[in-house]
Subunit: 139 residues, 2 copies
Amino acid sequence: MANGAGTMVADWLARGGLRPTRQRLALAELLVGDGEDRHVTAESLYALSLKSGEKVSLATVYNTLRAFCDAGLMNEVVVDGSKSYFDTRMDDHPHFYWEETAELTDAPKDQLQITGLPEAPDGTEVARVDVVIRLRKKA
Amino acid sequence: MANGAGTMVADWLARGGLRPTRQRLALAELLVGDGEDRHVTAESLYALSLKSGEKVSLATVYNTLRAFCDAGLMNEVVVDGSKSYFDTRMDDHPHFYWEETAELTDAPKDQLQITGLPEAPDGTEVARVDVVIRLRKKA
DNA sequence: TTAAGTGCAAATTATTTGCAGTAAG
DNA sequence: CTTACTGCAAATAATTTGCACTTAA
């Protein structure tokens, strides 16, 4: 049973130590309000916010996504040299990148297994292993 | 035994159907002249060309890298949202990305194995699977 | 000779930042 | 109150492009 709408996203912000401003609550609601994992770019989230009726400037969308990542609430995923994608799902998992539409989605993680991963060279450790499955329209 | 210097890179260009101009020969020499695999950004290749004494404008470096990729002679690798990296090695292989220095290198491919790769959704096929092992300085 | 390639400088695109005003603790 | 946050507009960074000139075929 949902208690006051917004409580969930307020808690989410609190986990990152971020002040629950009107703009952040609105963006967080769009991102994690329904519990679904979501992949956005700054522009796409900005567009969503406009559609939702909440006024948030594009600069603030950029700054907020950066803040959410720094706070450990989201991850930046690199798949396209020209845009940054942001993923609300925090565990290490593979992605599908749809080349035709430039969309990013989760790939089912279940069976995926990477074995024989090379050792991290001395003095270093593996921060993360990114797996991006690039899809194109079948010929 | 090496025949005339430049023959190799001239052939390399020919494989891509590209005219062997002075600039392209110079850049190709820097990229594949010694048979080693190489990872560059436009800026780093531009710097290399300056050091080598060959004059190539930065715009031409960009255009040329793009042309080499379009011709199927190199691949673009995405690891950092802000820069594009270009790899002379053409087979599908994993990369190390050194977060401290923003350098890209090949990771040994030998043992790496990805199993249980999700099926490509209907109407699509897998163009490529990018594996990037992000390294950071060990704490 | 003619289409492709080159080099500037100007244009674009994605993103960041300075700073004055606004709001949360 | 006091420090963080916001929004605009200007700044930046990487890359592309328009166009006159050069060069390979």
